[in-house]
Symmetry: C2
Subunit: 352 residues, 2 copies
């Protein structure tokens, strides 16, 4: 038996994505289970089953696994593999790492999903030469994973990159966290939905922009995708919301660059899948900053933002990179034709 397969798992609110690679990070298989993880007691089994099915589909065995990496949308203790709090999953103090290690008998690395994605990006060919980057995950919530000098930067409490709850507009909408005008309240999927529902309730939708109201009345609620669709159909209130979200993303990119001196901020997560209606207001917002300020122009290089394609699998890739680190140095021998750079940023998160 050769333990030669890495499994990277990205756990979301409504799906489990599994990516299998060899030790040089060459893809073997990808599987997405479109089901939410259930209660914590069942979660380890659900995740492990998804890995086993993915292995069996390509004729590989569980005992070929070398290591497992898993990204979870919440706060984790990488040292213990415990998910301390994952609000959207309903998890509190779940020993995910220990459970998976018991099941598979291999090392397991557990990390926050966005931090995992950032670590993964730092190890990909496309980011060669970018030592300082962030992955800004814009989904139901918003947070950033930050890589400095090629290594994932967590901070002493794992709070680094929690910019979803930085206040961008002191008199802005109330955020789930309790503050007003958080980045997340303006630009996350949840924030966009809530702003749109509030706009309909406030009757902001005018005759040339009644799409939001119609959708809300038909469905009883609005998703961010609904809001982008309404904006595409010319709904004025929806357009104002998605443009406000884009300007907020531009300001957050500027903020990340000015605080961390980053070279590139990668944008991913469900909301970024809205295409040009997501991307253009962000790029316009960055241009507006560059136009007004020479310092902003210097800080915000032409490639400062990259919107990841929907199939970028940043979370699963990040998890597989964590798995490679957990597997240990056995794979350090260079492999000819290797598609990925194994040396960079596979380091463990900083331990304190």
């Amino acid at each position: 038996m050769t333990r030669s397969i890495l499994a990277g798992i990205d756990v979301g609110g409504s799906k489990i994505a599994v990516l299998l690679t060899d030790l040089a990070l060459r893809p073997i298989a990808r599987r997405v289970v479109a089901t939410g993880v259930g209660d914590p007691a069942a979660a380890v089994g659900q995740v492990a089953d998804a890995v086993e099915v993915a292995l069996h589909e390509v004729g590989r065995r569980t005992d070929e696994l070398a290591a497992v990496g898993i990204g979870v949308p919440g706060r984790v203790e990488p040292d213990t593999g415990v998910v301390t709090l994952a609000v959207n999953l309903g998890w509190h103090e779940v020993a995910l790492g220990a459970g998976l290690a018991d099941r598979f008998g291999v090392p397991v690395a557990v990390e926050n999903d966005v931090k995992a994605a950032a670590a993964g990006l730092a190890s990909r060919d496309q980011t060669a030469g970018i030592a300082d980057l962030a992955y800004l995950g814009i989904g139901t919530g918003i947070s950033a994973g930050v890589v400095l000098g090629g290594r994932l930067y967590r901070g002493s409490r794992g709070l680094a990159g929690e910019i979803g709850h930085v206040v961008l507009q002191a008199d802005g909408p109330v955020c789930q966290c309790g503050l007003r005008g958080c980045f997340e309240a303006i630009a996350s999927g949840r924030g966009i939905s809530e702003l749109a529902e509030a706009a309909v309730r406030a009757d902001v939708a005018r005759p040339d922009g009644a799409v939001l109201a119609t959708t809300l009345h038909a469905k009883g609620r609005l998703t961010a995708a609904d809001v982008y669709a309404a904006a595409a159909a010319g709904d004025v209130a929806a357009l104002a919301i998605v443009e406000g979200a884009g300007r907020a993303v531009a300001r957050a990119v500027h903020l990340l660059v000015m605080t961390y001196d980053l070279q590139t901020v990668f944008l991913g997560g469900g909301v970024t899948g809205a295409g040009a209606l997501f991307r253009d207001p962000v790029l316009q917002g960055l241009d507006a900053l560059r136009d007004r300020s020479p310092l902003a122009r210097e800080a915000l290089g032409p490639d400062v933002v990259r919107v990841l394609p929907p199939d970028a699998d940043a979370g699963a890739w990040g998890a597989v990179v964590l798995a490679r680190t957990a597997a240990g140095p056995v794979h350090e021998t260079p492999i000819s034709g290797e598609p990925s750079r194994p040396a960079v940023a596979a380091d463990q998160p900083r331990r304190r």
Copy 2:
């Protein structure tokens, strides 16, 4: 001859401060020359003269110098000792490090003043156990020096911590940099002056707050100190400006903590010398964030902010710590009774 004296120099717009210590950072002498540095050609001479006078005043000789560190309010290249741009000094591409090294024949470290102050704070007894901190310098302008894991973090372009030009209020006052609503436009000495002058021009000052107008008419301009004095005298417009500045500082501290996961932000610089009128709005702003959000409460510990006393000499201390690093490892032997910790954060800034 024993080269056993370190010189730390803090160059400001209107003064040169020199701190002399032994190799264990025990103070020997301090001298402040209340004169602005002149044109770049004369600056090396002025700075060197200030060091020599400080030495001679305590009966020490120039050839006892082991190394010199110098902090400058502007952008520097630590590797070459060149000050690339110091707007307030009128300097552009000044080879300060080489000039001082020629004059004294010892290693010279050149750094941005705020970054130097941060590095210095990280090496002091009072910060033992604080590995992640920032020094937020609030003077004519605003910027932060950031220490992560005990080491000064500069970023690849030296822009790290340039949060004076992060936008806090999209429709706020126009900043010198060209953007609207920068932190610096709201809370720096220059920003406070300009807001106060604009308030008088806009006739915002009411009968119960005409102090600003009287001062402006008498002096022709307003300093930040004038605005704090007017606030102390009950001027309503001045109070609104200093309270707005304090809330902005609280938001910036929150922003720094949420991005970098810092433990403590030290506040220094001329504006912080206004005492309770500076400090209280900052603390109230932090309390308001803590009151509304459990996440903010967790992130912003009770000691998250420390206002440095006016005599803290953060800049000169930082420069002397840089000098110790430049002097090399000769002083690493522990000295009994040593008042400072010599091991931490004396590392050179990250080289790229």
